[in-house]
Symmetry: C2
Amino acid sequence: MVKTVADTSARDKILEAARKIFLEKGMDGARMQDIALEAGINKALLHYYFTSKDVLFEQVFSEAFIRFIPRLNRVIESDTPFFKKIEIFCEEYLNFLIANPYMPLFILNELNRQPDEFLKRIWSHQKPNLKSLFIQIEEEVKAETIRPIHPAHLVMNLMSMCIFPFIGKPMLQFLTKISDKEFAVLMEQRKKEVPAFIIQSIKR
Amino acid sequence: MVKTVADTSARDKILEAARKIFLEKGMDGARMQDIALEAGINKALLHYYFTSKDVLFEQVFSEAFIRFIPRLNRVIESDTPFFKKIEIFCEEYLNFLIANPYMPLFILNELNRQPDEFLKRIWSHQKPNLKSLFIQIEEEVKAETIRPIHPAHLVMNLMSMCIFPFIGKPMLQFLTKISDKEFAVLMEQRKKEVPAFIIQSIKR
DNA sequence: GTCTATAACTCGATAGAC
DNA sequence: GTCTATCGAGTTATAGAC
C-alpha cells in the first residue's frame, strides 16, 4: 500500500480546499463543485478519494479539533494558580481562533442543525473538561479568592469574549468601520485584554 | 386594494412559518416545502405571495430588526448615566434574544456568507449607533469614571456576553449538562449578571 | 386565492473511457 | 488516477384549472 507522490498530493489538495470551502459556507452551502474547483480537479476525482460529501466533511472537521481540545484540557487540569490559568486559557483559545477564524461559526452552525449526531461524532472522546473548571471556580469562591459568582456565568463570559468576535467579525467591522488590519491587532490584544477584564471583575 | 381577511391571514401564516423554519435551518437548510407545510398551505401559494425564496427570506429577516434597532439606539443615545446605560442596554438586548433565540446565529451566518449585499439591505437605514457608544466610552475614560480601556474591547465584551450564549447553547449544554429549564433561568439572570460583571471590571 | 401538475434546474454521485 | 458525460434525487419556480 505505498502511496505515489501524485496520490498524496491530490488528496491533500482536496482536504485543504474542502477545509476552506466548508469553513466559508458551512455543510449545506458548500458545493462539491466548489471544492473540486478550489482543489484544481473535478468532481469525479473528488468522489474517488472521498466516497461522499459526508465523509469528506467529517474528515476535514475532526482534524483541527484533535489537537486543540487536549491542549485546552491540559491547561484546565493543570495546578496553575487560578488567575494564571485564565490567562493561559485565553491565550491558547485565541491562538487557535486566530489560526482558524472560520471554525467557530462553522461548528456552532452544525451543532445547531443536528446536535446529537454531530456532538457524538466529534466530542465523544475529546471534549473540553469544563466540569473540572466549574469545580475549581466553586472552590475559589469558597476560599474567597474571588467574589461569589455562578461558575456557569463565569465560563460563559470567558468563552463568549474569546469566541464571539470571530463569529461577529463582519457585523463588528460594519458597525465600527474597523479594518482587517486593525481587527487583527485587536485580536492579538485580546490575549491580554480578556483575562485582564475577567480578573478585574472577579478578584476581591 | 382592500385586502380580504383570507388574504392577510395566509400571508401572515407564511411569514410566521418562514420565520420559524429559516431561523431553525438557515437560508440554505430551509426548504420551501417545509415552510408551506408549516403554514398549512402548498408551495405554489407560497410563490404566489412571495415570488422567490430570496424575497421571502429578506422579508422575514428585516422584520425583527426594524423594531429592535431603534430601541437599542434610544438607549445608546439617551443621557442616562453610563453604568445605568449598560444595565438597560443588556436588559433590552437579552430580552430581544430570549424572545428570538435563533436570530443571532441566523444573522451572523448570512453576514458571513454575503456581507456586502446583506448588510446594505438590512442596515443601510437602521443600524445600531455604536459610534456614539465609542465616543461615550472615551469620554468616561477621560473623565476617569472608568479605568482606561479601548472602546472596541469594551463593546466587543458587552456584545459577546449578551449574544454568545444563545449561539453556543447546544455546545454549552453538551459540555455542562445544563437543562433547557436551567439555561432559561441563567439567561434571565444574565440581565443583572452581565452588567454587574462589566461594571465591576471597569469601575475605578 | 388556492390548488395540482410539471417544467426547469441544481447538485451529489456513478459509469466508463483513457 | 484522472477525466468527460450523464443519471437521478431533490428543489425552486411556473402553468393553468378551478
